[in-house]
Amino acid sequence: MDFDFAEQAPKLMMLLWGLVAFAVVVGGLLVLLDAVPAFFARRREARFVAASASGAPLPGGRPRSREGLFATFFLLPTVVLLLIGLVVPALRTTLLSFMDGGSQNFVGLDNYRWMFADDSIVRVLLNTLVWVTLVPLVATSIGLIYAVLVDKARLEAVAKSLIFMPMAISFVGASIIWKFVYAFRSEEQEQIGLLNQIVVSLGGEPRQWLLDSPLNTLLLIVIMVWIQAGFAMVVLSAAIKAIPADIVEAARLDGVSPWQMFWQITLPSIRPALIVVVVTISIATLKVFDIVRTSTNGNYDTSVIANEMYNQAFRYGQNGQGSALAVFLFVLVIPIVIFQIRNLRQQRREG
């Protein structure tokens, strides 16, 4: 074997550089923010002393703009990176959506017209709606139920890692896993798909699960729920543990049934975490495409917007149409954004 440690050295050097850069950037920023205002404060003090000595008018402090200065520096790295990495691409995508497939000529609203003129796209829209309604609902519910049930149970850590496991599996692995669930073999053959094996052993006929709409969309949704429930469970479980013990104890002393405890104590207490989970899963679901792509590639009426977008922009070279679909995704997220704004307002009022 030729595993040569010397070959790995440049990579590890690079890692070292990366960590040094991290320390310098983050540490530097904090030090700078500490030192610079202090420096100005000293100067102002000095000027203040000088001014009072000479009898000139006192320089006025502007704390408000200093706050702005701090905010600028705190936000600087994030905003710059987001501008380069996401804002510019989003603007570019919007621009491309008004251009042709090769991004050479403007075509006005043609791509949007194409989107709504195509019959199959209506189907895609409906499917996306089904996804974005069901996945957050089911994944969050299961995650929540499980989190409540295993809370303080024996072997809690093990029980939780079982549900968490799908999140840790790479997508390549997940696609094989579900192949072993939905696979179809004719009646005279041995089944290799678990679902059909169950059907056969119950005396039924094997089915081609991914062929029949709308069942196939639901079966693909199951995969997404399988992956996302782990996320919901982890976040919600932590939120449940954060409920102050005295409240729970007080309720218990009052003889509250577990059912009432759940609705009257647990649920209201974890509301913020619940919102984070639902919003995050909703957005992830809007963007889902690899499950659909590897399972059916959108055949048999299972396509969703992001899958169409990927096909148009990356496989068919239709950048315009792909971008138009991406812009449509931006539009779909607006309700979630509005919800978030209302939330923030409410929080500010309460705060």
């Binding site: 440690f5 070292l16 004719s186 590897t294 990356f314 068919y316």
Partner: protein
């Protein structure tokens, strides 16, 4: 195991993994000694024309990976040693989607092996490709038939020579099964149908097929249609079809679908070992022919590369467990229409060393060097049959070099990707699942703008 542990942290971090791996020693890293060339030795004589680029590097991007990528690296090893050019090859399963991203992002490879003339044309039309050099062009014209070169020529500009090829007009069968049952290899379409009827009367389904291929599901069915189209129509009509000079829902295309349907959509004929017609859509193309080895079906139409899909231990030979016969013509008087595919060596850079590699890959020396390593077919007419060991590859090369062969490229690779890798694939899936010919063709036609 060479442990040159200079940086101590490196050792500490990688130590655990390294120790685990050192237990089982295997695999050989191919470290090319880029830079140092031994250009004067005798075995380097064929590479004289490519000298003068010592120490330069050429990056190649393709869809070829794993073992086949090893074979590629081996095939140009001597070229690298003699010329001092280092060739970095990168293979990716996401090639078709990633190449445009890299090109648009300004990070194009020097050379790419593009298997779709349609994709090649797209790059050419957007002025992202470099035309092939005069030397490359001369080399290609010497070694390949004009039939092949026209696929990498866009608006009169030639962009690169073919590399590997495959013959798609094959029907796989089991010589053993045929012998036991007294069946003979058909040489005309009618004989093939007769044979199918005979087999259908026994308890074996004559045909097996599968078109599932992950996100490329549908392509094996498009090959079927193209093969039949080439047999029911003249090559000229086929060309008009792939270039959209006749509409996709032309009656002649419908005729081809219906004729293919007499086999693919015939419950008496399909789908040996898998179920009925509908099982074709969910059977993966890799597994589709396997029932032949279990005696559950007799015939499977698939390209030469299917030779690598058989279960381990299956002997591929004319007197072995499985072999293939030429997918017969309907009217043998019209010649021998052959459907095939292949990849084209196209350049995104025009540095001299890139052009040298591009020229070399079009040469007879290269083709033979690669052929000797095995499992490879090329339309390069300099390929010496003696260098082709595998019987199915030999048969393919014979067919490609045969003068009576009328070669046509896989139509779906010629069409714009939105059709050839989009609606055509999807249309075939619908068609297999019971969609009627007219509405499926109408759907594909309306997507072709």
């Amino acid at each position: 195991m060479a442990v040159s542990a200079r940086p101590r942290q490196a050792l500490a971090i990688v130590g655990a993994i390294g120790l685990a791996l050192s237990a089982t020693a295997c695999g050989t890293g191919s470290s090319s000694n880029g830079g140092s060339s031994n250009a004067d030795s005798a075995e380097c004589a064929p590479y004289e024309d490519y000298q003068g680029h010592e120490g330069k590097t050429v990056n190649i991007y393709s869809s070829i990976r794993d073992i086949e990528a090893d074979r590629l690296a081996e095939s140009w090893k001597q070229f690298e040693d003699c010329t001092g050019i280092t060739i970095n090859h990168e293979g990716s399963g996401e090639f078709e989607a990633q190449l445009p991203v890299r090109v648009d992002g300004g990070n194009a490879p020097d050379l790419a092996f593009i298997p779709q003339p349609g994709l090649l044309a797209r790059f050419a039309e957007r002025n992202q490709l470099k035309p092939a050099s005069a030397e490359t062009k001369a080399m290609a014209e010497q070694n390949y038939s004009p039939d092949w070169l026209k696929y990498s020529t866009v608006n009169g500009t030639f962009y690169g020579a073919p590399l590997g090829s495959n013959v798609k007009s094959f029907v796989w069968y089991s010589p053993k099964m045929f012998q036991e049952n007294g069946w003979t290899v058909p040489t005309t379409w009618d004989q093939m149908i007769q044979l199918s009827d005979t087999i259908a009367q026994s308890d074996v389904k004559p045909w097996c097929a599968g078109i599932e291929s992950g996100d490329a599901t549908g392509w094996p069915a498009t090959d079927w249609i193209e093969d039949v189209m080439l047999r029911t129509q003249t090559p000229e009509v086929y060309d008009q079809w792939t270039t959209h000079e006749i509409p996709f829902n032309d009656p002649r295309v419908a005729e081809a679908l219906d004729r293919a349907g007499t086999i693919l959509k015939n419950d008496k004929y399909v789908n040996g070992g898998f179920g009925g017609v509908r099982s074709i859509a969910t059977t993966s193309f890799q597994e589709a022919g396997v029932p032949i080895t279990q005696g559950k079906c007799a015939l499977h139409r698939q390209a030469s590369f299917y030779a690598n899909q058989w279960p381990e231990g299956t002997r591929v030979a004319e007197d072995g467990d499985v072999f293939a016969f030429y997918f017969p013509a309907i009217d043998p008087a019209k010649g021998k229409p052959v459907l095939g595919g292949g990849e084209f060596v196209t350049a995104f850079a025009d540095r001299p060393e890139v052009q040298a590699v591009q020229t070399y890959l079009a040469s007879g020396e290269y083709a033979n060097s690669r052929a000797k390593i095995g499992d490879w077919v090329s339309a390069n007419n300099k390929v010496d049959l003696a260098n082709v060991a595998n019987p199915i590859d030999k048969l393919s090369v014979e067919i490609l070099q045969d003068d009576s062969t009328v070669f046509r490229f896989d139509g779906s690779d010629l069409m714009p990707a939105a059709v050839g890798a989009g609606t055509f694939w999807k249309g075939m899936v619908d068609w297999i699942n019971g969609g009627n010919t007219a509405s499926v063709l109408q759907g594909i036609e309306s997507s072709w703008k």
